[in-house]
Amino acid sequence: MLSIKNLSRTFFPGTVNERKALRNINMELGDGEFVTVIGSNGAGKSTVLNMVAGKLQPDTGSVTIAGKNVTKLADYSRAKYIGRVFQDPMAGTAPTMSIEENMALAYARGRFRGLGLGVGSKRRELFVEELKSLELGLENRLKTKVGLLSGGQRQALSLLMATFSKPKILLLDEHTAALDPQRAALVSRLTKEIVERHQLTTLMVTHNMEQALQLGTRLIMMHDGEIILDLNQEQKSQMTVQGLLDEFGKIKGAQLDDKTMLQ
């Protein structure tokens, strides 16, 4: 479903600040596979995500989604294949627009937007059904401006908006990192449920090793622009946080820093 080949990117080439963000990354995600990506700051995990989303261009390499090479496509042109949830709960929704209008924006993903009404009665029914699945009571507040919701509610709504139109790829960029533990747990649980229900091919970046082990069917660890560990479902189920730390400790020159890893 998602195929990443020989992806490389160097920031500020030829200057003192030159930094190799990605060194020849290869990744194949099968249909319905849910990969969690961990790694310290600057490991390149967000860079990979941004290249899949089209926010960043690689120096070399290609990104292919469902057999279509999207490497050169602008972010909005490839958005019909991709659902995204951002780290900042404020980033995934339009604050001055109502809940139902936000749902309508998401509903039209990848389709032509014309002069038809954004929220009709038929669509409203669909939105209500989808919102009910969040169990946050948002289905009773369709006209409420999203800016009035709490961070956790907004992130749950962002998750629903990114997924209910069933994208080919779901990208989650540390989407629980900015929430308090209780809200983070809620959004984690919703993520698991939604990904399973729609069988979404998912790439999730996280700082939280616990979460990386709980969620998903595969785990990838990155360091300094390279993939250093790739665990399948069975290996992952036997892995522990301590085990991941040990793996990380094996890397030559790497600082074992719980704080940057675990936050």
């Binding site: 989303a53 602008a74 972010d75 909005y76 042109s77 958005a79 019909k80 991709i82 659902g83 995204r84 951002f86 709960p89 404020m90 980033a91 995934g92 929704t93 339009a94 604050p95 001055t96 627009m97 209008e101 309508a104 924006l105 998401a106 039209a108 993903r109 990848g110 389709r111 937007r113 014309g114 002069l115 038809g116 009404l117 954004g118 929220v119 401006k145 800016g147 009035l148 919701l149 709490s150 961070g151 956790g152 907004r154 908006m161 990114a162």
Partner: protein, 305 residues
């Protein structure tokens, strides 16, 4: 007084255009100073050369759209700062407007215009003409509110609200900005065309400082009415435009001169911008508005999220 209301209602169409860019797209567009005159020039030259006034006015609308498109292209494709892109188009339009008219002033004396039948029937300057202009404004308000609730219009609102988000849902924010600027300047030019027919001439300087009138209308309207619903916000712009004209009328009647108008406009905008920040004013407003302004509510939620 009635003339001031009439003028306010015609300028309201321009203010609705400014509302589209300034409020909906969050884009401070200075093109309007030029495109207003472009609309007036195109309509006047068209009418003088024997064109049907309706057709000439529609043509003015499209000329304005073209001007807005150029600002949009400069900003999105040329990556020029929004303010500068607007200024560039505005300055360039000054020469183009002179080219269109061939001279600095095009009189419409004795020509058949959209306004001349009203004047001939003696309606102009009466309550019935206010009624007519108000209904026309309502039609524009209705059209804009409808548009902003279509899928396309909602994508435009989201572009002004959260670009990153709406791009992730497959919308080209560049195209939305160009479209918004085109529509906005189309309305501004249309307003210019009607003003020219109302006052009986087009003048190359008639658009100077116009952005202030547009901003004053939007901001005054917003200071007085809640922004909870789009239809209310759009209607507030119309009332803002009328209030602006009445304030100007008042200023003139207490002895200030026509030459002082730009200064009065600037002061009015400053007052409208600063007054809502003053705590005493907020208290007064609270007694009128049952719900807190969406902006402050947003900030409150933002901090405890």
């Amino acid at each position: 007084m009635i003339t001031a209301v009439e003028l306010g209602l015609i300028y309201a169409i321009m203010a609705l255009g400014v509302y589209l860019t300034f409020r909906i797209l969050d884009f401070p567009d200075l093109t309007v100073d030029g495109s207003f005159t472009t609309g007036a020039a195109v309509a006047s030259v068209g009418i003088v050369s024997g064109m049907n006034p309706w057709l000439a006015t529609v043509l003015a609308f499209f000329a304005g759209m073209l001007a807005g498109t150029i600002t949009g292209l400069l900003h999105t494709k040329g990556k020029i700062d929004g303010l500068l892109a607007g200024i560039l188009t505005m300055i360039a339009l000054y020469s183009i407007n002179l080219r269109i008219m061939g001279k600095a002033n095009t009189p419409l004396l004795g020509e058949e215009t959209l306004i001349s039948p009203l004047r001939a029937a003696g309606i102009l300057g009466s309550w019935s003409s206010i009624g007519i202009f108000f209904v026309i404004c309502l039609i524009f308000v209705g059209a804009i509110v409808w548009f902003l609730h279509t899928e396309l219009g909602m994508a435009m609102r989201a572009t002004g609200d959260n670009q990153e988000m709406i791009r992730s849902f497959g919308v080209s924010t560049d195209n939305q900005k160009i479209l918004g600027l085109a529509l906005s300047n189309g309305l501004v030019a249309l307003s210019g065309a009607i003003i020219a027919q109302y006052q009986g001439f087009a003048d190359v300087g008639m658009g100077i400082g116009l952005i202030l009138i547009g901003l004053a209308s939007v901001i005054v309207g917003q200071a007085i009415f809640t922004q909870r619903y789009i239809w209310l916000a759009a209607l507030a712009v119309v009332f803002g435009a009328v209030i602006y004209r009445l304030v100007i009328q008042l200023a003139l009647s207490v002895g200030l001169e026509v030459n002082d108008m730009k200064l009065i406009s600037a002061i009015l905008v400053v007052v409208a911008l600063l007054l809502p920040k003053w705590k005493g004013f907020q208290k007064i407003v609270k007694t009128f508005k049952r719900t807190p302004a969406a902006v402050t509510a947003k900030e409150e939620v933002g901090t405890n999220a």
